[in-house]
Amino acid sequence: MSALFSFHGGLKTTRHKTESNQQPILVNPLPPQLTVPLRQHIGAIAKPLVQVGDRVLKGQMIAQADGYISAAVHAPSSGVVTAMELRPVPHPSGLSDECIVIETDGEERWIERQPLDYRQLHPSEVRGALRSAGVVGLGGAVFPSAVKLNLEGQGGQLDTLILNGAECEPWISCDDRIMRERADEIVAGLHIMVHLLQPREVLIGIEDDKVEAIAAMREACAGTNYQVRAIPTLYPSGSVKQLIKLLTGKEIPVDGLPADIGVQCFNVATAQTVHRAIDLGEPVLSRVVTVTGHVARPANVEVLLGTPFSALIAFCGGYRDGVERLIMGGPMMGFALYDDEVPVTKATNCILAAGAGIGELTPEQPQMPCIRCGACVEACPANLLPQQLYWHARAKEFDKAQDYHLFSCIECGCCSYVCPSHIPLVQFYRYAKNEIWAQEKEKQKAELARQRHQARLDRLEREQKERDAKLRQKAPRQAASTAVTPEADKLPIEAAVARAKPHRIAAPADASPASVAADDDRSEPNS
């Protein structure tokens, strides 16, 4: 057994795990309505397969993966599709997104489940099954797992497969409970991953304050060569880059992926869904969510995807007085919601009702000038110079921000946390990254327009030449009749205008079919 390694920076934050991790995972009752977003993963939005009015069964695929980096979406319970429209989803923008709304019938009637024997199948068939089961990373990044389980074209041999049970953010305890109660299922999923990836070693990293989870996982791994390693309780030890560093001493190269250094990393809850998808034939229909902070009965709850946050909060006894902010995710990297009428998605690991005093929410602090004290440098796990990055991001000098390795920032929030001037540092970096992506897109669009314009000019020139050539042939014969053509051209148009006029008055001015869809091919390769 090799020794543990360490990473630069990091924080010892308060933990607040015991509020929610002292009791077994509860099950949320079936809500009357499920609002299932079609974009619950990174990559292309899923393509709907049902129509309003259709009856669906529990586990039925209602939208299919559209492209390689995409994931399918399933009906979490049986019922009737009552709407397919834009509905508010949990997103920092507060915007709405395409959703399929299902009125549940309370019968929970399943589709026919088909367990697969992965040992008898070709790896690509297993991956296909995972894709159509909608398996994505449940740690919060929701990257389609089938893509990460494919090593072809990525160097082939995998050294280390890592299972991430660190759960370093304060308050969140869903992975902790899953490891304690469902260790066998996690290990069963791990067997499938090992079958697909054939790694030389399998490491399971768990923060050392989760004593019960470590014990449960060790017990479940008995008789295998999977190694459970206790890692120091230091935020952000659960970030992929930092976890890999801790366990293997390897650093994912700048602009690189874990596979580049022969490592692949999955969340423990993801392993459980892999097991259910293959061994039981059950697609991803639910997940465990930590509901904690300023609610009456904090708990970990198994909840169907599409269940409104408000129903889940009600199940946990409702808000206590003084809730000021509703956060999806942890207090360090989670985002605040505008409303609790949004559905639980595959990315919802935690709902934190925060307020001053409870949930430790820090009241808004006045921002002071940066005094370059360097506290952020000490805290940064990516070894950046946050104070210099801030300087350039603030001045919108994006080139210089990139010189200071803006894109190595993992947005963990350590710098903002320790900043004595209370500067929203991470927010400046998010802003700068978004602007750079947008400018890049604009540039590509301009380049496309330039090419199309050039192509058109070339085409016009070619046509002109052809016409000239024809005219020269016909010239001797038709010299007299050319003057008539322009008017002859216009006649049919005027006739058409006359025909269209009454029609135009009848049609409402804004009855325009929405055939214009803005370009939205968002893909952030953020595993």
Binding site: R39, V89, H91, P92, S93, G94, L95, S96, D97, Y338, E364, P366, Q367, P424, Q427, F428, R430, Y431, N434, E435, W437, A438, E442, K445, A446, E447, L448, A449, R450, R452, H453, A455, R456, R459, I493, E494, A496, V497, R499, A500, K501, H503, R504, A507, A511, S512, P513, S515, V516, A517, A518, D519, D520, D521, R522
Partner: protein, 189 residues
């Protein structure tokens, strides 16, 4: 006295030769200035600058025939980028050329289109599909929002619609600590 003049002249001569040699030997082959200007222009090909497209305008700027503040779609950022490239002072957009507007795309009201193909001929980037006497439609991804298709339409069935913000196009905004955080859809409304 004469020695001094001779020596200085000789020095000047040698230095001049060296400089001349260096200029030839170490000549930097850069993009011609027209390409650099063209790269900054937004390629809407709208002609609001008074030229037949972005490239002719770029040529005019390079030849010092046009000013740098004649491109409304490029807006303030475009003018600043041009000023930086050419080492001039930025100036406000010339109102004679138009005003800076949010990005739009053309949308054909398909009930009223008579299939005259006039808009297809006007589109500088071939972003309108259709054939004579058949309904036309705009390829939104390719549309630059130049508005050149509006005047030729005999039945006024083309409208400019703002590009709606979706979760895919949404961006984090510049951090300002304020009490009035609003959802993106309400902030834009």
């Amino acid at each position: 006295m004469i020695t001094a003049i001779v020596v200085l002249s000789a020095l000047a001569g040698v230095a001049g030769l060296l400089l001349g040699f260096a200029a030839v030997r170490f000549k930097v082959e850069g993009d011609p200035i027209v390409d650099k200007i063209d790269a900054i222009l937004p390629q809407t090909q709208c002609g609001q600058c008074g030229y037949a497209g972005c490239r002719p305008y770029a040529e005019a700027i390079a030849a010092d025939e046009a000013d740098i503040n004649q491109c409304p779609p490029g807006g303030e950022n475009g003018i600043i980028a041009l000023a930086e490239l050419l080492g001039r002072d930025p100036k406000p957009l010339n109102p004679e050329n138009g005003i800076e507007k949010p990005k739009m795309v053309a949308l054909i009201d398909e009930h009223n289109c008579i299939g005259c193909t006039l808009c297809i001929q006007a589109c500088p980037v071939d972003a309108i599909l259709g054939a004579a006497k058949h309904m036309h439609t705009v390829i939104a991804q390719e549309c630059t929002g130049c508005e050149l298709c509006l005047p030729p339409c005999p039945v006024d069935c083309i409208h400019m619609t703002p590009i709606t913000q979706t979760i895919g196009t949404w961006k984090w905004s510049y951090p300002v600590r304020s009490e009035t955080h609003q959802p993106a859809d309400q902030a834009t409304a």
